[in-house]
């Protein structure tokens, strides 16, 4: 008995709609984010993450309205990421009803921002998103941080970077394998485990979930504290309830709701 492993559906939101594409191409519409969030809440999701991928700056406030609306009917933790660059972005998201804010690219270009944000709002509100790709295979695999949807390398070592972000005040790390994202081949378990065994803060595994066994593996083999998935839930392949049951059957402690 004790702390449950979390299942976190992720909603990629563009211009106020949930979308899902394979490695950022072939984008499909997956519904109204407020309705989708309510459905996952009913199914027993432990948290919900919104990733704002709105391209045009004209529609930047759309996500604020989405969060506001969700936060008045869904009473579980909400995280919002995408385009968070300055303290005021964090403040606006938290004021709209987000509990945590995900910082990604801005952390890479200005690591001090993570320090400032956690100093200001507390570590519990700051999730650092890490997009990593494997750059060396073999006995001593290495992963590096990539930006721009996994297209641009930074030369930063993923494990060192994760540790640095935790030291700078990240309360949690959202770890995405850009090699696996959208493939449905399962998490990069070696990467997940290496990061989980390096940092003392909770780690959410992300990128590549195609079935429920992948979620189990993320926890039991990857040592992740939480698992994040999008498309397996969006298009009705599985419900969050089924995912919880699968994890429970595998001996993983989860929150089972009525």
């Amino acid at each position: 008995m004790g702390l449950a492993k979390r299942i976190i559906p992720c909603l990629d939101v563009r211009d106020g709609r949930v979308v899902k594409g394979v490695q950022f191409v072939d984008i499909r519409d997956a519904g109204n984010p407020v309705e989708v969030a309510a459905r996952y809440d009913e199914q027993g999701a432990d948290e919900i993450t919104f990733l704002d991928i709105t391209a045009s700056s004209d529609n930047r406030d759309t996500i604020l309205h989405v969060v506001e609306e969700v936060a008045s009917t869904v009473f579980i933790p909400l995280t919002v990421g995408g385009g968070i660059r300055v303290l005021d972005d964090v403040r606006r998201m938290l004021n709209a009803g987000a509990d945590k804010v995900g910082i990604n690219t801005a952390a890479v270009f200005n690591p001090e921002f993570v320090k400032q944000a956690s100093g200001h709002f507390g570590s519990q509100a700051i999730v650092v998103s890490i997009d990593a790709r494997q750059v060396e295979a073999g006995d001593k695999p290495r992963w590096e941080i990539f930006t721009h949807g996994g297209r641009r390398g930074t030369g930063l070592d993923a494990l060192q970077w994760a540790k640095k972000m935790a030291d700078y005040g990240a309360g949690e790390i959202l770890l995405t394998s850009m090699d696996r994202d959208g493939t449905r081949d399962g998490f990069d378990l070696a990467l997940t485990r290496a990061v989980c065994d390096t940092v003392d803060v909770p780690v959410i595994a992300s990128g590549g979930v195609g079935n429920l066994d992948h979620l189990v593996d993320g926890v039991s083999k990857g040592h992740a504290d939480a698992v994040l998935a999008a498309s397996i839930f969006h298009f009705g392949d599985y419900t969050v309830q089924q995912a919880k049951q699968k994890m429970h059957d595998a001996g993983i402690e989860v929150r089972i709701t009525e």
Partner: protein
């Protein structure tokens, strides 16, 4: 119509707390306020809080809200959430310099300690399944063992799960004050109750049905 005030001294996400009360008690008058007269006029007082306790207690003193909060804690239905529970105890090790702890309000006997400082056993915070330390902050849904019967637990199963996020945890020194206990490597006081005060480490406003039920019970609580 009962009036509920969520005390605002510039710390933490108060909107979620207010929204959750509006949801469970549509007839109640829910207000977020930093005004002493509002706190004195309200029927029920909620003290939320997140972040670091050093800044929290400083903000409480700097805003002159402390006497009004203490008055409310002395005679009205009073709910402390997260740091709003820790601040009711004597001290916290968080942000203490050179082992010096931050002195807090002292209504309950006990201290908030970092998870890794609670037990003298170095293995206590090691997860046997991974061989590594349990992650800190303690973040997510954990169980609360109800250690007393209380109107605020009504309709909530023993060992129900609530959402936690914190790195320091309370060690109450008076067993009679403890309303709930949670285990995360070590045991800590996750709920406190005495007379008109109920306080919790977890976030009922983020704990779905059981959290909302607790808030509803607070709205209906007759002391």
């Amino acid at each position: 119509m009962t009036s509920i005030i969520v005390v605002d001294f510039g710390m933490g996400n108060l909107r979620s707390v207010a929204k959750a009360f509006e949801h469970v008690a549509p007839g109640a008058d829910v207000m977020i306020s930093a005004d002493v007269s509002d706190i004195r006029a309200a029927d029920r007082v909620v003290l939320p809080g997140q972040g670091a306790i050093g800044g929290y207690i400083k903000a409480l003193y700097d805003t002159d809200l402390e006497p009004a909060v203490l008055d409310a804690a002395a005679n009205k239905p009073f709910l402390g959430i997260c740091l709003g529970q820790q601040v009711l105890y004597e001290s916290s090790d968080e942000h203490g310099e050179e082992g010096e702890s931050v002195k807090t309000l002292g209504l309950f006997k006990g201290h908030a300690k970092h998870f890794t400082d609670v037990s003298s056993d170095p293995q206590a915070m090691i997860n046997p399944q991974t061989g590594h330390q349990y992650p800190i902050p303690h973040m997510g849904w954990n169980q609360v063992k109800q250690t007393m019967k209380h109107p605020l637990w009504q309709g909530i199963a023993d060992m129900a799960r609530f959402y936690f996020v914190h790195s320091y945890c309370l060690q109450s020194e008076n067993e009679a004050d403890v309303a709930g206990v949670t285990e995360y490597g070590v045991n800590f006081t996750s709920a406190t109750a005495r007379d008109n005060i109920f306080a919790v480490q977890f976030h009922p406003e983020k704990s779905q049905h059981d959290g909302l039920k607790l808030l509803e019970n607070f709205v209906n609580w007759k002391i």
